[in-house]
Symmetry: C2
Subunit: 272 residues, 2 copies
Protein backbone atom coordinates (compact mmCIF):
# COMPACT_ATOMS: atom_id res chain seq x y z
CA UNK A 1 0.00 0.00 0.00
CA UNK A 2 1.18 3.44 -0.96
CA UNK A 3 -0.22 6.16 1.29
CA UNK A 4 -0.59 8.42 -1.75
CA UNK A 5 -3.23 6.14 -3.23
CA UNK A 6 -6.57 7.94 -3.30
CA UNK A 7 -9.61 7.28 -1.12
CA UNK A 8 -12.59 6.37 -3.28
CA UNK A 9 -16.09 7.77 -2.75
CA UNK A 10 -19.17 6.47 -4.56
CA UNK A 11 -22.73 7.76 -4.60
CA UNK A 12 -25.88 7.59 -6.70
CA UNK A 13 -25.19 11.18 -7.79
CA UNK A 14 -23.97 14.42 -6.25
CA UNK A 15 -25.00 13.57 -2.66
CA UNK A 16 -21.64 12.08 -1.76
CA UNK A 17 -20.12 15.50 -2.38
CA UNK A 18 -21.36 16.43 1.11
CA UNK A 19 -19.02 13.71 2.36
CA UNK A 20 -16.18 14.93 0.17
CA UNK A 21 -16.69 18.43 1.55
CA UNK A 22 -15.94 17.11 5.03
CA UNK A 23 -12.98 15.15 3.70
CA UNK A 24 -11.52 18.37 2.28
CA UNK A 25 -11.57 19.79 5.81
CA UNK A 26 -10.77 16.79 7.95
CA UNK A 27 -8.36 14.97 5.64
CA UNK A 28 -6.41 17.67 3.80
CA UNK A 29 -3.53 15.31 2.97
CA UNK A 30 -5.59 12.66 1.25
CA UNK A 31 -6.03 12.28 -2.48
CA UNK A 32 -9.66 11.84 -3.46
CA UNK A 33 -11.49 10.13 -6.28
CA UNK A 34 -15.25 10.37 -6.65
CA UNK A 35 -17.82 8.62 -8.78
CA UNK A 36 -21.46 9.72 -8.95
CA UNK A 37 -23.87 7.51 -10.88
CA UNK A 38 -25.96 10.52 -11.82
CA UNK A 39 -27.38 8.90 -14.96
CA UNK A 40 -29.15 6.27 -12.87
CA UNK A 41 -30.01 8.48 -9.91
CA UNK A 42 -32.11 8.23 -7.76
CA UNK A 43 -31.28 4.83 -6.30
CA UNK A 44 -33.97 5.21 -3.62
CA UNK A 45 -36.94 3.76 -5.52
CA UNK A 46 -34.95 0.93 -7.17
CA UNK A 47 -35.12 -2.71 -6.05
CA UNK A 48 -32.31 -3.80 -3.72
CA UNK A 49 -30.82 -6.24 -6.26
CA UNK A 50 -30.39 -3.45 -8.76
CA UNK A 51 -28.80 -1.10 -6.24
CA UNK A 52 -26.38 -3.86 -5.27
CA UNK A 53 -25.46 -4.44 -8.92
CA UNK A 54 -24.95 -0.72 -9.58
CA UNK A 55 -22.87 -0.33 -6.43
CA UNK A 56 -20.63 -3.18 -7.54
CA UNK A 57 -20.15 -1.51 -10.90
CA UNK A 58 -19.05 1.69 -9.23
CA UNK A 59 -16.82 -0.23 -6.85
CA UNK A 60 -15.07 -2.07 -9.67
CA UNK A 61 -14.47 1.18 -11.52
CA UNK A 62 -12.73 2.71 -8.51
CA UNK A 63 -10.77 -0.46 -7.69
CA UNK A 64 -9.24 -0.07 -11.15
CA UNK A 65 -8.17 3.42 -10.10
CA UNK A 66 -6.11 1.87 -7.31
CA UNK A 67 -7.95 3.25 -4.27
CA UNK A 68 -6.66 2.40 -0.77
CA UNK A 69 -10.08 2.66 0.91
CA UNK A 70 -13.68 2.76 -0.31
CA UNK A 71 -16.37 4.99 1.14
CA UNK A 72 -19.92 4.10 0.14
CA UNK A 73 -21.11 7.69 0.46
CA UNK A 74 -24.73 6.77 -0.26
CA UNK A 75 -27.19 5.55 2.37
CA UNK A 76 -29.30 3.51 -0.07
CA UNK A 77 -26.23 1.65 -1.33
CA UNK A 78 -24.84 1.23 2.19
CA UNK A 79 -28.12 -0.26 3.39
CA UNK A 80 -28.12 -3.07 0.84
CA UNK A 81 -24.56 -3.52 -0.43
CA UNK A 82 -22.02 -2.59 2.28
CA UNK A 83 -21.85 -5.94 4.00
CA UNK A 84 -21.22 -7.93 0.84
CA UNK A 85 -18.66 -5.49 -0.57
CA UNK A 86 -16.81 -5.17 2.75
CA UNK A 87 -16.56 -8.95 2.99
CA UNK A 88 -15.24 -9.29 -0.56
CA UNK A 89 -12.68 -6.49 -0.82
CA UNK A 90 -9.21 -6.59 0.70
CA UNK A 91 -9.14 -2.81 1.31
CA UNK A 92 -11.18 -1.20 4.12
CA UNK A 93 -14.76 -0.36 3.12
CA UNK A 94 -16.94 2.01 5.11
CA UNK A 95 -20.59 3.03 4.80
CA UNK A 96 -22.58 5.94 6.17
CA UNK A 97 -25.26 4.28 8.31
CA UNK A 98 -23.20 3.21 11.33
CA UNK A 99 -21.43 6.60 11.68
CA UNK A 100 -24.76 8.47 11.49
CA UNK A 101 -26.35 6.16 14.03
CA UNK A 102 -23.46 6.50 16.45
CA UNK A 103 -23.57 10.29 16.28
CA UNK A 104 -27.33 10.31 16.92
CA UNK A 105 -26.99 8.16 20.03
CA UNK A 106 -24.24 10.47 21.27
CA UNK A 107 -26.37 13.58 20.60
CA UNK A 108 -29.81 12.62 21.85
CA UNK A 109 -31.07 13.48 25.32
CA UNK A 110 -34.69 12.39 24.93
CA UNK A 111 -33.91 9.14 23.08
CA UNK A 112 -36.43 10.19 20.43
CA UNK A 113 -34.45 9.91 17.20
CA UNK A 114 -35.81 10.71 13.76
CA UNK A 115 -34.41 9.30 10.51
CA UNK A 116 -35.16 10.64 7.05
CA UNK A 117 -33.91 8.92 3.93
CA UNK A 118 -34.83 7.52 0.53
CA UNK A 119 -37.52 4.89 0.14
CA UNK A 120 -34.83 2.24 -0.24
CA UNK A 121 -33.01 3.23 2.94
CA UNK A 122 -36.16 3.50 5.04
CA UNK A 123 -37.60 0.27 3.65
CA UNK A 124 -34.38 -1.58 4.53
CA UNK A 125 -34.91 -0.54 8.17
CA UNK A 126 -31.12 -0.41 8.49
CA UNK A 127 -31.10 2.63 10.76
CA UNK A 128 -33.80 1.18 13.03
CA UNK A 129 -31.89 -2.06 13.35
CA UNK A 130 -28.55 -0.40 14.12
CA UNK A 131 -30.00 2.23 16.47
CA UNK A 132 -32.09 -0.29 18.37
CA UNK A 133 -29.14 -2.64 18.70
CA UNK A 134 -26.84 0.10 19.97
CA UNK A 135 -29.35 1.87 22.18
CA UNK A 136 -32.29 -0.32 23.21
CA UNK A 137 -33.94 2.65 24.93
CA UNK A 138 -34.15 4.75 21.78
CA UNK A 139 -37.45 5.34 20.01
CA UNK A 140 -36.92 5.63 16.27
CA UNK A 141 -39.22 7.53 13.94
CA UNK A 142 -38.45 6.92 10.27
CA UNK A 143 -39.70 8.80 7.27
CA UNK A 144 -38.97 8.36 3.56
CA UNK A 145 -38.60 11.67 1.72
CA UNK A 146 -38.52 10.54 -1.93
CA UNK A 147 -38.85 14.06 -3.26
CA UNK A 148 -35.63 15.41 -1.75
CA UNK A 149 -33.00 13.77 -4.01
CA UNK A 150 -34.55 14.96 -7.30
CA UNK A 151 -34.63 18.54 -5.94
CA UNK A 152 -30.92 18.40 -5.23
CA UNK A 153 -29.86 16.60 -8.39
CA UNK A 154 -31.75 19.11 -10.54
CA UNK A 155 -30.02 21.97 -8.73
CA UNK A 156 -33.33 23.39 -7.46
CA UNK A 157 -32.37 23.27 -3.80
CA UNK A 158 -32.53 27.01 -3.29
CA UNK A 159 -35.99 27.52 -4.82
CA UNK A 160 -39.35 28.13 -3.16
CA UNK A 161 -40.48 24.77 -4.54
CA UNK A 162 -37.77 23.11 -2.47
CA UNK A 163 -38.90 25.00 0.63
CA UNK A 164 -42.47 23.89 0.18
CA UNK A 165 -41.60 20.23 -0.45
CA UNK A 166 -39.35 20.09 2.62
CA UNK A 167 -42.02 21.66 4.84
CA UNK A 168 -44.72 19.28 3.63
CA UNK A 169 -42.55 16.18 3.85
CA UNK A 170 -41.45 16.85 7.42
CA UNK A 171 -44.94 17.56 8.76
CA UNK A 172 -44.85 13.98 10.09
CA UNK A 173 -42.62 15.12 12.95
CA UNK A 174 -45.04 17.81 14.14
CA UNK A 175 -46.98 15.38 16.30
CA UNK A 176 -44.05 13.05 16.94
CA UNK A 177 -41.26 15.27 18.18
CA UNK A 178 -37.62 14.19 18.09
CA UNK A 179 -34.57 15.97 19.53
CA UNK A 180 -32.19 14.48 16.95
CA UNK A 181 -32.76 13.92 13.25
CA UNK A 182 -30.46 11.81 11.11
CA UNK A 183 -30.08 13.11 7.57
CA UNK A 184 -29.97 9.54 6.32
CA UNK A 185 -29.14 10.45 2.73
CA UNK A 186 -25.96 12.22 1.68
CA UNK A 187 -27.98 14.55 -0.56
CA UNK A 188 -29.89 15.99 2.38
CA UNK A 189 -27.18 18.23 3.95
CA UNK A 190 -27.57 20.39 0.83
CA UNK A 191 -31.13 21.02 2.07
CA UNK A 192 -29.96 21.52 5.64
CA UNK A 193 -31.04 25.15 6.12
CA UNK A 194 -34.56 24.29 4.92
CA UNK A 195 -34.74 21.19 7.10
CA UNK A 196 -33.43 23.03 10.19
CA UNK A 197 -35.97 25.76 9.62
CA UNK A 198 -38.88 23.33 9.58
CA UNK A 199 -37.64 21.19 12.48
CA UNK A 200 -36.72 24.15 14.67
CA UNK A 201 -33.33 25.29 15.86
CA UNK A 202 -33.29 22.97 18.87
CA UNK A 203 -33.36 19.76 16.87
CA UNK A 204 -29.88 18.43 16.29
CA UNK A 205 -29.35 17.42 12.66
CA UNK A 206 -26.90 14.58 12.11
CA UNK A 207 -24.98 14.67 8.85
CA UNK A 208 -24.25 10.99 8.30
CA UNK A 209 -21.59 11.83 5.72
CA UNK A 210 -19.66 14.24 7.93
CA UNK A 211 -19.63 11.64 10.67
CA UNK A 212 -18.38 9.06 8.21
CA UNK A 213 -15.30 11.11 7.39
CA UNK A 214 -14.37 11.06 11.07
CA UNK A 215 -14.51 7.27 10.95
CA UNK A 216 -12.50 7.17 7.73
CA UNK A 217 -9.83 9.11 9.60
CA UNK A 218 -10.03 6.69 12.53
CA UNK A 219 -9.50 3.69 10.28
CA UNK A 220 -6.70 5.39 8.31
CA UNK A 221 -4.86 5.91 11.58
CA UNK A 222 -5.68 2.52 12.99
CA UNK A 223 -4.31 0.76 9.93
CA UNK A 224 -1.46 3.28 9.54
CA UNK A 225 -2.70 4.24 6.09
CA UNK A 226 -3.01 8.00 6.62
CA UNK A 227 -1.05 10.11 4.19
CA UNK A 228 1.42 12.20 6.15
CA UNK A 229 3.87 12.72 3.34
CA UNK A 230 1.87 14.84 0.93
CA UNK A 231 4.20 17.50 -0.37
CA UNK A 232 2.19 18.90 -3.25
CA UNK A 233 -1.49 19.84 -3.51
CA UNK A 234 -3.85 16.92 -2.98
CA UNK A 235 -5.48 15.57 -6.11
CA UNK A 236 -9.25 15.45 -6.58
CA UNK A 237 -10.78 13.54 -9.48
CA UNK A 238 -14.49 13.45 -10.20
CA UNK A 239 -16.40 11.08 -12.47
CA UNK A 240 -20.08 11.12 -13.30
CA UNK A 241 -22.23 8.88 -15.43
CA UNK A 242 -24.47 11.87 -16.19
CA UNK A 243 -24.05 15.46 -17.30
CA UNK A 244 -20.64 16.84 -16.41
CA UNK A 245 -21.99 20.37 -16.70
CA UNK A 246 -24.68 19.93 -14.06
CA UNK A 247 -22.29 17.95 -11.87
CA UNK A 248 -19.58 20.61 -12.02
CA UNK A 249 -22.07 23.38 -11.30
CA UNK A 250 -23.27 21.72 -8.10
CA UNK A 251 -19.80 20.55 -7.08
CA UNK A 252 -18.23 24.00 -7.50
CA UNK A 253 -20.93 25.69 -5.50
CA UNK A 254 -21.07 23.07 -2.78
CA UNK A 255 -17.34 22.48 -2.36
CA UNK A 256 -16.34 26.10 -2.99
CA UNK A 257 -13.73 24.88 -5.44
CA UNK A 258 -13.59 26.65 -8.78
CA UNK A 259 -11.41 24.21 -10.61
CA UNK A 260 -13.62 21.14 -10.60
CA UNK A 261 -13.96 19.52 -14.00
CA UNK A 262 -15.58 16.12 -13.90
CA UNK A 263 -15.15 13.40 -16.48
CA UNK A 264 -18.00 11.45 -18.00
CA UNK A 265 -17.92 7.68 -17.88
CA UNK A 266 -20.40 4.93 -18.70
CA UNK A 267 -21.30 2.05 -16.43
CA UNK A 268 -23.25 -1.18 -16.94
CA UNK A 269 -25.21 -1.76 -20.12
CA UNK A 270 -24.51 1.72 -21.34
CA UNK A 271 -20.87 0.76 -21.47
CA UNK A 272 -21.14 -1.97 -24.08
CA UNK B 1 -13.37 -13.80 20.98
CA UNK B 2 -16.57 -13.70 23.01
CA UNK B 3 -18.52 -10.48 22.53
CA UNK B 4 -19.41 -10.51 26.21
CA UNK B 5 -15.76 -9.98 27.17
CA UNK B 6 -15.36 -6.57 28.80
CA UNK B 7 -13.69 -3.50 27.34
CA UNK B 8 -10.79 -2.43 29.56
CA UNK B 9 -10.14 1.21 30.53
CA UNK B 10 -6.96 2.37 32.29
CA UNK B 11 -6.04 5.73 33.76
CA UNK B 12 -3.68 7.28 36.26
CA UNK B 13 -6.67 7.78 38.58
CA UNK B 14 -10.30 8.83 38.31
CA UNK B 15 -9.92 10.82 35.07
CA UNK B 16 -10.76 7.88 32.84
CA UNK B 17 -14.21 7.86 34.45
CA UNK B 18 -15.09 10.72 32.10
CA UNK B 19 -14.49 8.23 29.29
CA UNK B 20 -16.51 5.53 31.06
CA UNK B 21 -19.37 8.00 31.45
CA UNK B 22 -19.55 8.32 27.69
CA UNK B 23 -19.28 4.56 27.29
CA UNK B 24 -22.33 4.15 29.55
CA UNK B 25 -24.27 6.28 27.09
CA UNK B 26 -22.81 5.29 23.74
CA UNK B 27 -22.13 1.60 24.41
CA UNK B 28 -24.94 0.40 26.69
CA UNK B 29 -24.44 -3.25 25.74
CA UNK B 30 -20.76 -3.45 26.59
CA UNK B 31 -19.31 -4.83 29.81
CA UNK B 32 -16.74 -2.54 31.33
CA UNK B 33 -13.70 -2.99 33.51
CA UNK B 34 -11.75 -0.03 34.83
CA UNK B 35 -8.42 0.38 36.57
CA UNK B 36 -7.28 3.70 38.06
CA UNK B 37 -3.72 3.89 39.38
CA UNK B 38 -4.78 6.42 42.01
CA UNK B 39 -1.95 5.56 44.40
CA UNK B 40 0.64 6.75 41.89
CA UNK B 41 -1.38 9.63 40.43
CA UNK B 42 -0.53 12.12 38.96
CA UNK B 43 1.38 10.63 36.05
CA UNK B 44 1.91 14.07 34.49
CA UNK B 45 5.16 15.04 36.25
CA UNK B 46 6.75 11.56 36.01
CA UNK B 47 9.47 10.63 33.53
CA UNK B 48 8.25 8.91 30.37
CA UNK B 49 10.01 5.62 31.21
CA UNK B 50 8.13 5.38 34.49
CA UNK B 51 4.78 6.17 32.87
CA UNK B 52 5.44 3.47 30.28
CA UNK B 53 6.27 0.94 33.00
CA UNK B 54 3.16 1.82 35.03
CA UNK B 55 0.97 1.65 31.94
CA UNK B 56 2.28 -1.81 31.14
CA UNK B 57 1.48 -2.92 34.71
CA UNK B 58 -2.08 -1.73 34.33
CA UNK B 59 -2.35 -3.32 30.89
CA UNK B 60 -1.16 -6.70 32.16
CA UNK B 61 -3.64 -6.59 35.03
CA UNK B 62 -6.55 -6.06 32.61
CA UNK B 63 -5.29 -8.61 30.09
CA UNK B 64 -5.61 -11.14 32.90
CA UNK B 65 -9.25 -10.09 33.21
CA UNK B 66 -9.79 -11.20 29.63
CA UNK B 67 -10.61 -7.85 27.99
CA UNK B 68 -11.47 -7.77 24.27
CA UNK B 69 -10.23 -4.21 23.72
CA UNK B 70 -8.02 -1.80 25.69
CA UNK B 71 -8.68 1.91 26.02
CA UNK B 72 -5.78 3.94 27.36
CA UNK B 73 -8.08 6.55 28.89
CA UNK B 74 -5.19 8.76 30.00
CA UNK B 75 -3.50 11.32 27.79
CA UNK B 76 -0.13 11.12 29.56
CA UNK B 77 -0.01 7.35 29.11
CA UNK B 78 -1.29 7.55 25.54
CA UNK B 79 1.44 10.05 24.65
CA UNK B 80 4.30 7.78 25.68
CA UNK B 81 3.01 4.19 25.74
CA UNK B 82 0.23 3.72 23.17
CA UNK B 83 2.40 2.90 20.20
CA UNK B 84 4.41 0.22 21.98
CA UNK B 85 1.39 -1.40 23.62
CA UNK B 86 -0.68 -1.35 20.42
CA UNK B 87 2.17 -3.04 18.56
CA UNK B 88 2.55 -5.75 21.19
CA UNK B 89 -1.03 -6.73 21.99
CA UNK B 90 -3.22 -8.90 19.78
CA UNK B 91 -6.43 -7.10 20.83
CA UNK B 92 -7.28 -3.59 19.54
CA UNK B 93 -5.73 -0.79 21.62
CA UNK B 94 -6.92 2.79 21.43
CA UNK B 95 -5.67 6.01 23.00
CA UNK B 96 -7.25 9.42 23.53
CA UNK B 97 -4.96 11.77 21.58
CA UNK B 98 -5.95 10.95 18.00
CA UNK B 99 -9.70 11.12 18.69
CA UNK B 100 -9.34 14.47 20.48
CA UNK B 101 -7.21 15.86 17.65
CA UNK B 102 -9.65 14.72 15.00
CA UNK B 103 -12.59 16.34 16.78
CA UNK B 104 -10.69 19.63 17.13
CA UNK B 105 -9.90 19.76 13.41
CA UNK B 106 -13.56 19.07 12.66
CA UNK B 107 -14.72 21.80 15.07
CA UNK B 108 -12.35 24.69 14.40
CA UNK B 109 -13.18 27.53 12.04
CA UNK B 110 -10.23 29.82 12.78
CA UNK B 111 -7.61 27.02 12.81
CA UNK B 112 -6.44 28.38 16.18
CA UNK B 113 -6.53 25.29 18.40
CA UNK B 114 -5.61 25.25 22.09
CA UNK B 115 -4.48 22.17 23.99
CA UNK B 116 -4.31 21.84 27.76
CA UNK B 117 -2.86 18.80 29.47
CA UNK B 118 -0.44 17.50 32.05
CA UNK B 119 3.25 18.37 31.92
CA UNK B 120 3.97 14.93 30.49
CA UNK B 121 1.44 15.25 27.70
CA UNK B 122 2.43 18.77 26.73
CA UNK B 123 6.15 17.96 26.92
CA UNK B 124 5.66 14.99 24.61
CA UNK B 125 4.23 17.39 21.99
CA UNK B 126 1.97 14.56 20.85
CA UNK B 127 -1.01 16.79 20.15
CA UNK B 128 1.09 19.30 18.20
CA UNK B 129 2.55 16.53 16.10
CA UNK B 130 -0.78 14.90 15.33
CA UNK B 131 -2.65 18.17 14.75
CA UNK B 132 0.06 19.57 12.51
CA UNK B 133 0.24 16.38 10.53
CA UNK B 134 -3.53 16.23 10.01
CA UNK B 135 -4.08 19.92 9.45
CA UNK B 136 -0.97 21.77 8.30
CA UNK B 137 -2.86 25.09 8.46
CA UNK B 138 -3.65 24.82 12.15
CA UNK B 139 -1.90 26.95 14.74
CA UNK B 140 -1.53 25.06 18.00
CA UNK B 141 -1.24 26.72 21.40
CA UNK B 142 -0.30 24.27 24.16
CA UNK B 143 -0.40 24.80 27.88
CA UNK B 144 0.45 22.47 30.75
CA UNK B 145 -1.97 22.78 33.68
CA UNK B 146 -0.25 20.71 36.37
CA UNK B 147 -2.57 21.88 39.13
CA UNK B 148 -5.76 20.52 37.60
CA UNK B 149 -5.37 16.76 38.22
CA UNK B 150 -4.68 17.11 41.97
CA UNK B 151 -7.83 19.26 42.36
CA UNK B 152 -9.93 16.54 40.77
CA UNK B 153 -8.31 13.58 42.52
CA UNK B 154 -8.77 15.24 45.92
CA UNK B 155 -12.45 15.83 45.14
CA UNK B 156 -12.07 19.62 45.42
CA UNK B 157 -13.36 20.34 41.94
CA UNK B 158 -16.40 22.26 43.09
CA UNK B 159 -14.56 24.62 45.46
CA UNK B 160 -13.61 28.27 45.08
CA UNK B 161 -9.96 27.18 45.15
CA UNK B 162 -10.61 25.19 41.98
CA UNK B 163 -12.25 28.17 40.35
CA UNK B 164 -9.27 30.39 41.14
CA UNK B 165 -6.69 27.88 39.92
CA UNK B 166 -8.52 27.32 36.65
CA UNK B 167 -8.86 31.06 36.00
CA UNK B 168 -5.18 31.70 36.71
CA UNK B 169 -3.94 28.76 34.67
CA UNK B 170 -5.93 29.67 31.57
CA UNK B 171 -4.91 33.34 31.56
CA UNK B 172 -2.42 32.29 28.87
CA UNK B 173 -5.22 32.22 26.28
CA UNK B 174 -6.33 35.80 26.96
CA UNK B 175 -3.82 37.20 24.51
CA UNK B 176 -3.71 34.16 22.27
CA UNK B 177 -7.32 33.41 21.44
CA UNK B 178 -8.44 30.00 20.21
CA UNK B 179 -11.88 28.93 18.98
CA UNK B 180 -11.38 25.31 20.02
CA UNK B 181 -9.73 23.96 23.17
CA UNK B 182 -8.79 20.31 23.59
CA UNK B 183 -9.20 19.05 27.14
CA UNK B 184 -6.10 16.92 26.71
CA UNK B 185 -6.42 15.12 30.03
CA UNK B 186 -9.33 12.87 30.92
CA UNK B 187 -9.56 14.52 34.35
CA UNK B 188 -10.39 17.91 32.85
CA UNK B 189 -14.00 17.35 31.77
CA UNK B 190 -14.80 17.25 35.51
CA UNK B 191 -13.65 20.90 35.56
CA UNK B 192 -15.55 21.66 32.36
CA UNK B 193 -17.99 24.29 33.74
CA UNK B 194 -15.07 26.23 35.26
CA UNK B 195 -13.01 25.99 32.08
CA UNK B 196 -15.93 27.01 29.86
CA UNK B 197 -16.61 29.97 32.11
CA UNK B 198 -13.03 31.26 31.82
CA UNK B 199 -12.69 30.59 28.08
CA UNK B 200 -16.09 32.04 27.21
CA UNK B 201 -19.15 30.31 25.84
CA UNK B 202 -18.04 30.59 22.22
CA UNK B 203 -14.94 28.43 22.61
CA UNK B 204 -15.65 24.83 21.73
CA UNK B 205 -14.26 22.45 24.36
CA UNK B 206 -13.21 19.05 23.04
CA UNK B 207 -13.53 16.17 25.47
CA UNK B 208 -10.88 13.78 24.20
CA UNK B 209 -12.39 10.91 26.19
CA UNK B 210 -15.90 11.34 24.83
CA UNK B 211 -14.49 11.37 21.31
CA UNK B 212 -12.52 8.23 22.07
CA UNK B 213 -15.66 6.28 22.91
CA UNK B 214 -17.01 7.09 19.45
CA UNK B 215 -13.87 5.56 17.98
CA UNK B 216 -14.11 2.52 20.27
CA UNK B 217 -17.58 2.01 18.84
CA UNK B 218 -16.23 2.38 15.28
CA UNK B 219 -13.58 -0.28 15.84
CA UNK B 220 -16.00 -2.63 17.63
CA UNK B 221 -18.22 -2.50 14.55
CA UNK B 222 -15.39 -2.66 12.07
CA UNK B 223 -13.99 -5.81 13.69
CA UNK B 224 -17.47 -7.19 14.40
CA UNK B 225 -16.75 -7.27 18.12
CA UNK B 226 -19.72 -5.21 19.32
CA UNK B 227 -21.91 -6.91 21.87
CA UNK B 228 -25.40 -7.20 20.45
CA UNK B 229 -26.49 -10.14 22.55
CA UNK B 230 -26.53 -8.66 26.03
CA UNK B 231 -29.60 -9.98 27.74
CA UNK B 232 -28.95 -8.97 31.34
CA UNK B 233 -27.63 -5.74 32.82
CA UNK B 234 -24.12 -4.86 31.69
CA UNK B 235 -21.38 -5.44 34.24
CA UNK B 236 -19.11 -2.67 35.49
CA UNK B 237 -16.07 -3.46 37.59
CA UNK B 238 -13.79 -0.84 39.06
CA UNK B 239 -10.30 -1.28 40.49
CA UNK B 240 -8.13 1.34 42.14
CA UNK B 241 -4.63 1.21 43.57
CA UNK B 242 -5.64 3.93 46.04
CA UNK B 243 -8.48 4.64 48.44
CA UNK B 244 -11.68 2.89 47.40
CA UNK B 245 -13.69 5.32 49.51
CA UNK B 246 -12.47 8.40 47.64
CA UNK B 247 -12.72 6.59 44.31
CA UNK B 248 -16.31 5.49 44.92
CA UNK B 249 -17.33 8.95 46.06
CA UNK B 250 -16.10 10.57 42.85
CA UNK B 251 -17.31 7.73 40.63
CA UNK B 252 -20.83 7.75 42.09
CA UNK B 253 -21.19 11.47 41.70
CA UNK B 254 -19.65 11.62 38.25
CA UNK B 255 -21.33 8.57 36.73
CA UNK B 256 -24.64 9.05 38.59
CA UNK B 257 -24.50 5.41 39.58
CA UNK B 258 -25.21 4.62 43.22
CA UNK B 259 -24.01 1.05 43.26
CA UNK B 260 -20.33 1.54 42.48
CA UNK B 261 -18.05 -0.32 44.84
CA UNK B 262 -14.46 -0.40 43.68
CA UNK B 263 -11.90 -3.00 44.68
CA UNK B 264 -8.42 -2.18 45.88
CA UNK B 265 -5.47 -3.79 44.14
CA UNK B 266 -1.70 -3.31 44.30
CA UNK B 267 0.56 -2.84 41.30
CA UNK B 268 4.34 -2.87 40.83
CA UNK B 269 6.62 -2.90 43.88
CA UNK B 270 3.72 -2.52 46.26
CA UNK B 271 2.51 -5.87 45.03
CA UNK B 272 5.42 -7.94 46.27
Amino acid sequence: MDKNQPIGFIDSGVGGLTVVKEALKQLPNENIIYLGDTARCPYGPRPAEQVIAFTWEMTRFLLNKNIKMLVIACNTATAVALEEIKKTLSIPVIGVILPGSRAAIKATHTNQIGVIGTEGTIKSASYERVLQEKSPKAKILSLACPKFVPIVESNQFQTSVAKKIVAESLRYFEKQPVDTLILGCTHYPILRPLIQNVMGSKVKLIDSGAETVGEVSTLLDYFQMANTTLTTERSMTFYTTGSTKMFDQIAKEWLKENTISSKHIALGEEKS
